[in-house]
């Protein structure tokens, strides 16, 4: 059974296992998920058969919310492969563009109150009817202009990934989408303080946002961070 509930411009996909959790758009899907999964799989197969994996993933913003959700998933799989899951899809930072938060799950760890364990996470964003990667979380966190949240790259550290959580308010109290990332240790516990990443409308990029350092606010990217503890 599939139900939809209007809720602004965010969609939530509820699965029986609670795994993929949220897909933000403009309706809620409740109940059994197999029909929804089958529908999405059919759309994907149709897309592949039509050869759309060969083109940049496009977006039909005016085609409706279900189309938006399918486009987000399509773009996610295009960026991360078939293991991609969607955490959020919708107008996350305001404006006409659509953002999709896609991730590859770290299967050996469970979700908890601090967020999803992710091996890789990207925020995809539309511009001129095409998707681009606005934020890429792998070993380091990068946007198209540089590295985020670091002073240096430690080549010796082997963190399996991050725990990612999604907040709806910045630390200064302003309402808006915030991605919270915390380094994960090999045992699944967190290492160090989280970093908070939000959309900076002045520069049109996702950047680290802090209120605990002087000067506070958005932090400029690091273009060429030094490498430390590199293997000889």
């Amino acid at each position: 059974m599939r139900t939809m509930m209007a809720s602004g411009d965010q969609v939530e996909f509820r699965t029986e296992t609670g795994k993929s959790a949220k897909l933000e758009g403009s309706f809620f899907v409740r109940g059994r998920t197999k029909p929804a999964v089958a529908l999405l799989a059919a759309l994907l197969l149709l897309c592949i058969s039509l050869g759309c994996s060969q083109r940049p993933a496009g977006l039909s913003v005016a085609a409706g919310d279900d189309r938006m959700a399918a486009d987000c998933l399509d773009a996610a799989k295009h960026a991360l492969g078939t293991g991609a899951e969607i955490a959020k899809c919708g107008h996350l930072v305001g404006g006409l563009s659509v953002e999709a938060v896609a991730f590859i799950r770290l299967e050996r760890f469970k979700d908890n109150a601090d967020g999803l364990p992710v091996k890789r996470l990207v925020i995809l964003r539309t511009a001129d009817s095409h998707w681009y990667t606005a934020l890429d979380v792998a070993k380091e966190v990068q946007n198209p202009s540089g590295y985020i949240g670091i002073d240096y790259i430690d080549d010796s550290e082997q963190y399996p990934g991050f725990r990612a959580a999604f907040l709806d308010r910045r630390a200064d109290g302003k309402v808006g989408f915030v991605l919270q990332l915390t380094y994960l240790r090999q045992d699944g516990t967190s290492e160090g303080l989280p970093m908070w990443i939000a959309w900076n409308p002045d520069v049109g990029r996702f950047q680290e946002f802090t209120v605990n350092e002087e000067p506070g606010g958005f932090v400029q990217e690091v273009k060429n961070p030094p490498h430390i503890r590199s293997a000889k």
Partner: protein, 232 residues
């Protein structure tokens, strides 16, 4: 020319009568002693500020004796350990393996510990928790303008740095402020009068003061020779 803006909060030491003068500076011998903030934790503040100015990298387990990362970086509990080692006259003796949680427990059992952020003073340890467990710590280096400035090792990829929290909102994102810890300064060995039972008169006096006013700390003055004083 400097002037005092508030009475010296102490400590008041029996064998140093000048310490009872609320408006004296460095035992009225500023060419011999330094007492930059009128308190007795300057060693810890200096050590923390030095680490913050040296681009010390983050290292998991860094600063812990015997750890492979010792000497090549610090994590938050390792930083507190290093800072406490720089002040040998304190009551917190950390040894063996330790974490921010075990350090907080040590302050509770062998030092002074307050859950009130308003009691924070330079040189104190400061702690935050997540899901009820102490997970992060730093060293307070300044308290002014409604803010508590502290030095800490934030997370992988970031150098030891100076952050602040506001007195009215001392949390670090989702990490909740839980308390500040202050070592009890060891009593100087020079010229300490003792009672017939062998107890230090200074300790007896401090005990009396603590009994009269349990919310205030009283410690032996710890001054540093040959420091150029700085007055506002």
């Amino acid at each position: 020319m400097g002037r005092f803006t508030s009475p010296d909060p102490g400590p008041f030491v029996l064998y140093e009568p000048q310490s009872f003068n609320l408006y004296e500076y460095a035992l009225n011998s500023p060419m011999r002693y330094g007492d930059d903030d009128g308190l007795t934790a300057q060693d810890r503040v200096n050590a923390a500020n030095a680490l913050a100015s040296q681009n010390v990298a983050y290292a998991r387990g860094g600063g812990h004796p015997g750890n492979a990362s010792e000497g090549c970086g610090l994590d938050c509990s390792g930083l507190l350990y290093k800072v406490l080692k720089a002040d040998p006259d304190n009551s917190i003796d950390i040894h063996g393996s330790f974490t921010a949680a075990s350090e907080a427990a040590l302050f509770k059992s062998k030092g002074q510990y307050s859950t009130n952020i308003d009691t924070a003073q330079p040189g104190d340890a400061i702690f935050w928790s997540e899901s009820g467990n102490v997970v992060h710590t730093g060293v307070v280096v300044d308290v002014r303008d409604g803010k508590v400035y502290f030095v800490h090792a934030p997370r992988p990829g970031r150098n030891v740095n100076r952050f602040y929290v506001k007195l009215i909102s001392p949390d670090l994102g989702n990490e909740k402020f839980v308390g500040v810890g202050r070592p009890i300064e060891a009593e100087p060995t020079r010229g300490v009068a003792t009672t017939t039972s062998g107890n230090s008169l200074v300790g007896t006096w401090q005990s009396l003061l603590r009994w009269l006013n349990p919310g205030v700390s009283y410690r032996a003055r710890h001054l540093h020779p040959n420091r150029i004083p700085s007055l506002e």
